[in-house]
Point group: C3
Chain length 149, copies 3
Amino acid sequence: MAGLGDLNMANPVFVTYLFYAAVLGLKTLFMSLFTVRHRMGNKVFANPEDAKGLQGKVKFDHPDVERVRRAHLNDLENVLPFLILCPLYLATGPAAATATTLIRVFAAARLLHTVVYLNVVPQPSRALCFMVGMGVTVYMCVQILLATM
Amino acid sequence: MAGLGDLNMANPVFVTYLFYAAVLGLKTLFMSLFTVRHRMGNKVFANPEDAKGLQGKVKFDHPDVERVRRAHLNDLENVLPFLILCPLYLATGPAAATATTLIRVFAAARLLHTVVYLNVVPQPSRALCFMVGMGVTVYMCVQILLATM
Amino acid sequence: MAGLGDLNMANPVFVTYLFYAAVLGLKTLFMSLFTVRHRMGNKVFANPEDAKGLQGKVKFDHPDVERVRRAHLNDLENVLPFLILCPLYLATGPAAATATTLIRVFAAARLLHTVVYLNVVPQPSRALCFMVGMGVTVYMCVQILLATM
């Protein structure tokens, strides 16, 4: 029977998942560093102890900082569920070609989402990237439901 | 020895986990769509480029929008840890009946939590749903600790 | 071939991961309880129905409450990615001693991060804890990339 035990380094779909999980994990983690850069550059901080040490001030509405923070939260809302649910979908034994394509489409959509968000590319670019990413995860959830019922 | 390799489609507890992981994953993802609907309906947006394109304004304190966002964040804080920690608990080889019950109780508590939160059902309904959900995850963590020590 | 199937209770590195996943999971969940305690103690709430029932008021900028909430969000941004990515790193078959050390260092850094954040220990203590934690997860991602290319 298909299961988590099939997910090993000899399984090309799992290797694809591993590769993009690392890429998306790094991308999501690096959002923190972007926030720090914008906080430093604009001298606006969330904590009094940081503001004091760096001759800045406490401010929660700097547009550049808040934009990065919104993009980061959007990753927590979308990338983390994908990273958790994708191996569960793989455990149901989907066709390798379909699963590989879905993983690549999700990764591309979320990388583009960040580029579009941070560079203020006009809508509907961001909405499109968001919907494609969410569409992939929703599809995987539906396939899990079908496989378990 | 018990482990992640036991988690396959022939294992009824894992199938139960998969089913509710998909249900809870979908529920959590759909919180974004509720936020979008309230943003559209009230014409309040978080990004200037969205407000401009949709003849709305930038506003961070609309009560309906913020309520959905709080419910969503509460899911990130509770549903995601459960989805990560439950398979680890299953990897320690718990009794199937106990594990199945815990998964169902968690899922019911979190689905109810959202209903109660979005419909402003008087307290202590929401606190109760929250505590039951957290209680399940805490119990699983304690069982993992006992199994590994 | 190395894979998720190797992650069982006879594998000491996996047992180490399980133990610290439970510890860090509990720690992250307990941040909610700290928030509740500060909300109760200062009678400031995020929802009108809570404020009404507990004779408090709705307020989103109480410094003690917001500090705990920032520490909690920081855990969602760092602890959850680690908990997801670490077993993927283990699935690539790293040296046991290296993996064990990395897991312990991450856990220590994140536990200290919370202590330092909530007790307002002067910088660079918090920045250091944060960078060590992130460094471990970044290293694991890079190792996954190397193993899959």
